[in-house]
Symmetry: D3
Subunit: 136 residues, 6 copies
């Protein structure tokens, strides 16, 4: 059970409905998932998050599927069950194959392992890795 | 200062040198970074990790740069300073542009935000996200 | 299912019953929640935790509701489902309004976002933030 | 050393300067801390984050100091060194006393402890904590 | 519901069956738990993980039960529900008593508490703790 | 630089000095490490933590070295740099050999890896792992 009420379209205020309408139009489906229904308790948060997601996940220097894979990786490391399910579903919808999913998990597993090993050894960063970032 | 001794090539046993030689040959550089010098305290761990890294990070259904981006994302969520530096350097070496880096960070920031929001709301997973994974 | 037995009052030893009695008297309710029933497997841990909670959560320089909000924030960042539910219920019992809950979640979401962004950028701390703490 | 270039005002594009100007005006200081200088590599991210911070941290149902305490708590649980320093400084600037800081840390320490204990016990959530959230 | 298909022995490829057979022979039981059934979607990952587990968890300078206690501690701090259940069961099978379990949890709780306190205080490491690790 | 003042013996109140004296007597050394000097800003927290540490880390069903290994494991997973250094030093002082340290790190690395893999797969807990805990 959620710690907040899930706001259905019928019970939503007009500013929430406006965002719901945009989600539906943008995603070409009537389905509104629980994430948005929970955020709707704070219409400003709902708007800010939806606007941000659209900006961040749009095609750019990285393609949308790569962005979903990164989103899954963060959600796994942050142990967010709902997020893992929703973004794994989103990645499949954007074309993630079983082979890609398997390799994603292999990288996640390897990264967790070396993260733990490095942290236990408290290694100093090699000078070679401290290269100046290229100018923007 | 590390919690373990960093083993230089000159001080390494023959089984460690064998792995160091393979790292150098595989990466076409004499540089051995601190991660391997620390792992060398446990030659079995050194071998297992190096073998695993080569398998996991090889080109496959995902390209090597995408794998580095995923590696960075996990390392950020796991707060591993050394790993963030080493894999950001690796991603740049594999062609990550400043634009790609900026978008990677934007996805990481957004994912952290929604991970926190979702966890605070304790949302039930929508049935629509519980689709049966495709058969392998 | 828990990894430990949940100890009911009827099955508890006298030193556990003593703590249960104090919890009931202090909270003015017969209800003992699962947290204490699990800790009761280690009566010393039960006593130490209950004593500590009473000290830490008492009114002081911070009021009890503010302390519950902080407790929720930590529990979300640490992904403790039980703790999020129990402390959200406690905060409501101490007067947390829906508006306060919504703002709490907004801060949690924003903090997670900037935590992730900062960690990915590995920013040096500005000198201006390294001010000497005031003498106690 | 940061993994991104820190953009000074002099080197910034006009859209970045516009945000920097707003930060300076809003905060009544010329000081721009490293967080914004790093975000400036992605002007959209800079704008989105600054706009969000202003919305979220504004006085509302929770006062600004309480919001800073919550921000510190999340940053500690997420192990963000820079964030802990910057928001501890911000909380002091908003009036946090040493006594309040000490109590904040006591709650953080206690919450971490019980988070760990609860997670190790894998406790089921008591029905009493699953109360329906009040309608918004 | 898992995000991957769980591969039963009957549906497994010959290379997966080979690992399953080794798990069964090594553990002297027909039972294959869900972890391996999930990993089997990536036979290389299955083999690498099973080989690694056998190497790492074998008796050595630390006894197998001590290794399970450490495994539980990491799994709790990493909030992995499945791992906490499976390794608590494994520790019991290797002789963990209720008293040992209770003390394990007490150390986990205390470590979480001081981890949180230390992080909030951003303490510099005492020179006395920076002793050179002994040569291997 | 710490976010709190480090309280030296000379500057401490009598109740803090009492705890410092006990630490020195108990540990048979004049050395007070920064952890206690930071906690001393809140004498109640100092007393509670020192009392708790003495209870939890005392010999019992688990020996003191095993408890230190568990403490290190949690501190690594929680990314507490100071704690990793202080408890690695403490473990060495209690007799941890380089071989034991290497095996500890191998278990930590393996546990992190499988924690990440399991979380990404969202595996249901096998019924076989849900055995009733033995009565206390």
């Amino acid at each position: 059970m959620a710690t907040v009420k899930l706001i259905e379209y019928e019970d939503a205020s007009s500013d929430v409905r406006e965002i719901y309408d945009d989600i539906r139009a943008f995603r070409k489906t009537d389905f509104i998932n629980n994430f948005w229904k929970g955020l709707a308790n704070n219409p400003e948060q709902l708007r800010r998050t939806w606007t941000g997601i659209k900006e961040v996940m749009a095609p750019g220097a990285l393609d949308p599927l790569t962005k979903e894979l990164i989103y899954i990786a963060v959600s796994v490391a942050n142990k967010c069950e709902y997020c893992i399910h929703s973004h794994t579903a989103a990645a499949r919808a954007k074309g993630m194959s079983d082979e890609q999913h398997a390799e994603l998990m292999a990288v996640i597993g390897m990264a967790h392992s070396t993260n733990g090993l490095v942290t236990s050894m408290q290694l100093p960063v090699d000078d070679a890795f401290k290269v100046e970032a290229a100018a923007p």
